[in-house]
């Protein structure tokens, strides 16, 4: 069963001057953990606002739980949970009051659905009498998730829940999502962190309002067209400049400890010639090895391919 369906949706702002979404189509299956992966300005938030019936759009069709987002606003709002990117709880209510408020407006109670939020809520319960505005970043995030869940939604929309959060808290958050998935809640989550893509069942890579690719993370990686190599030397910034000037190099990007390189003709002879010419330039401690592409490699490749991207 399809829980979220988006067909050729376009959305512009400022009387058509800014195109936020350009004929976007995708589907999310019931119980699926689906990720929208892309930088700020890609169109992720517009998409969330359309699906949660908060804004209009120019063309196309969209439905959630088979309800039309243009016609069945109230039905959709009853059945979905939404955690916006910006913290949007009541700052001057306490932790407990916020949760109670959201339970009440959905005609339910904390007790009725406590099992669903228990695991997350116990972590912030010691601070239940604290005003939400006084909470730390990570605790706000947990409270917002509890409030989005307290009416037992069938579909959960999470807009950049881990932005600005450190690695440890990000890992914890994804563990929570995995456990929610076991409750058969359909989850649509967005993130600018490419490494988090691997934790979703399927992902859409989105940039400039267009979806560049949709598949499982493994599927997207398997579509990377070239053999990829990691290369490093004692002088990494000079190595990168030299690689980008080489004719036999197709692409060269910095990726932390190693630069990632693909070759025009990826055979071992060409690899040796590349290493020789780099040595001739005086680069020391050269090391080159085949590596597996990451989602970020795929994203960069698709950006350059689809937009002839030099990007700014």
């Amino acid at each position: 069963m399809v829980d979220v369906k988006v067909q050729n949706v376009s959305k512009s702002y400022e009387k058509g001057k800014v195109l936020a979404l350009n004929e976007v189509s995708f589907e999310v299956e019931k119980g699926e953990l689906f990720g929208l992966i892309g930088p700020d300005g890609a169109g992720k938030t517009s998409l969330f606002r359309i699906l949660t019936t908060l804004i209009d759009f120019d063309q196309g069709e969209a439905s959630v739980l088979s309800f039309d987002v243009n016609k069945d606003l109230k039905k959709i709002r009853k059945e979905v949970g939404y955690m916006p990117g910006r913290f949007s709880l009541y700052q001057d209510l306490t932790v407990e009051e916020n949760l109670e408020f959201f339970a009440t407006i959905f005609n339910t109670s904390i007790e009725e659905n406590y099992d669903l939020v228990r695991e997350i809520y116990v972590q912030i319960e010691p601070f239940k009498d604290r005003k939400a505005g006084k909470l730390s970043g990570g605790m706000k995030q947990k409270l917002a998730l509890c409030c989005a869940l307290i009416h037992r939604p069938k579909v959960l929309f999470l807009d950049e829940p881990t932005t600005g959060v450190d690695t440890v808290s990000r890992k914890e958050f994804w563990e929570m999502l995995k456990r929610l998935k076991e409750q058969e809640i359909t989850i649509l989550v967005s993130t600018p962190y490419m490494d988090e893509a691997m934790l979703c069942e399927r992902i859409a890579l989105i940039q400039h309002g267009s979806i560049m690719s949709i598949d499982s993370p493994k599927g997207i990686i398997s579509k990377y067209p070239d053999p990829l190599y990691g290369i490093k030397s004692a002088d990494m910034s000079r190595l990168l400049r030299l690689l980008q000037d080489q004719e036999r190099v197709k692409s060269a990007n910095s990726f932390g400890e190693y630069h990632h390189v693909s070759l025009v003709e990826p055979d071992s002879a060409n690899m040796d010639r590349l290493l020789d010419s780099l040595r001739m330039e005086g680069l020391e401690q050269l090391e080159m090895k085949p590596i597996k592409p990451s989602i970020e490699d795929c994203f960069i490749h698709l950006m350059k391919e689809q937009h002839g991207e030099t990007s700014h």
Partner: protein
């Protein structure tokens, strides 16, 4: 050897009975790219505010760009640059107006502002956009311009607080090219980030946990020391046991 760009000894900041930053002792060399990492709430912002002359320490010593963090905060402010994801440029001014504004604040002459401003616009290829409001530009452009403006007055040190958050992967790499250029010109770069691949681009990294610096070394030495493959693992190893989880 040249005087370090930053030198601290037992630098401490207390708020009431809460010690936000405790006994920080480290040096950053001129031209070094220094990664300042830590979990949310570890005390990074507190430490950075002291180094920028915005918050007076409770105890300990620190010297930034040759100036004392207790007595010479105004000198410090004039000799550093600063940008963050949250604050970079004025959205309702044009690119040119922002350059003029910040150049003026940092005491550049009109001629310097004109010369350096047009060099900046040239370098970033923004000739056509220079009269556009900054608010109308894509985030990646804004961040690159903000960085260039933060080093327009040739500061000794530039402080970057999560400068690349939310920026697309291609632009993120172009941003680091700008950082390398600044470092080549002798500008010291003090940077925080949540992207662990970016931690690898730093000459050295410090890791703060619960207000203290728990590790400080080059990325490769840190990985060796903890016997792990990536900076992500180093971070996880050190921050996992943190008692304070947030800011």
């Amino acid at each position: 050897m040249e005087r370090p760009a930053i030198k601290t000894h037992n630098l401490t900041k207390r708020f009431g009975d809460f010690t936000a930053a405790k006994d920080l002792s480290f040096e950053v060399a001129k031209g070094e790219i220094f990664g300042f990492l830590g979990a949310n709430g570890a005390g990074k912002t507190t430490a950075m505010r002291m180094l920028c002359g915005l918050s007076i320490p409770s105890s300990g010593e620190a010297n930034v760009a040759g100036f004392d963090v207790y007595r010479q905060t105004e000198n410090i402010k004039r000799n550093i640059g600063y940008m963050s994801q949250k604050f970079s440029l004025y959205e309702d001014l044009t690119i040119t107006e922002n350059i003029e504004f910040f150049g003026g604040i940092y005491g550049l002459s009109n001629k310097e502002i004109r010369d350096r401003g047009s060099a900046l616009i040239n370098e970033l290829g923004l000739e056509k956009e220079k009269k556009k409001l900054v608010g109308s530009l894509p985030l990646g452009w804004k961040q690159k311009i903000a960085f260039s403006v933060a080093v327009l007055h040739d500061p000794s040190i530039v402080f970057l607080d999560e400068p690349t958050g939310g920026v697309d992967p291609v632009t993120r790499r172009q941003f680091w090219d700008l950082i390398y250029d600044a470092s080549d010109r002798g500008i010291t770069v003090f940077v925080t980030t949540h992207y662990m691949d970016e931690a690898e681009y730093c000459n050295r990294i410090s890791m703060m946990v619960d207000g203290e610096i728990k590790a400080l070394d080059s990325p490769s030495e840190l990985k060796k020391k903890f016997g792990v493959e990536s900076m992500d693992d180093v971070f996880f190893h050190l921050a996992r046991g943190a008692k304070r989880s947030d800011n």
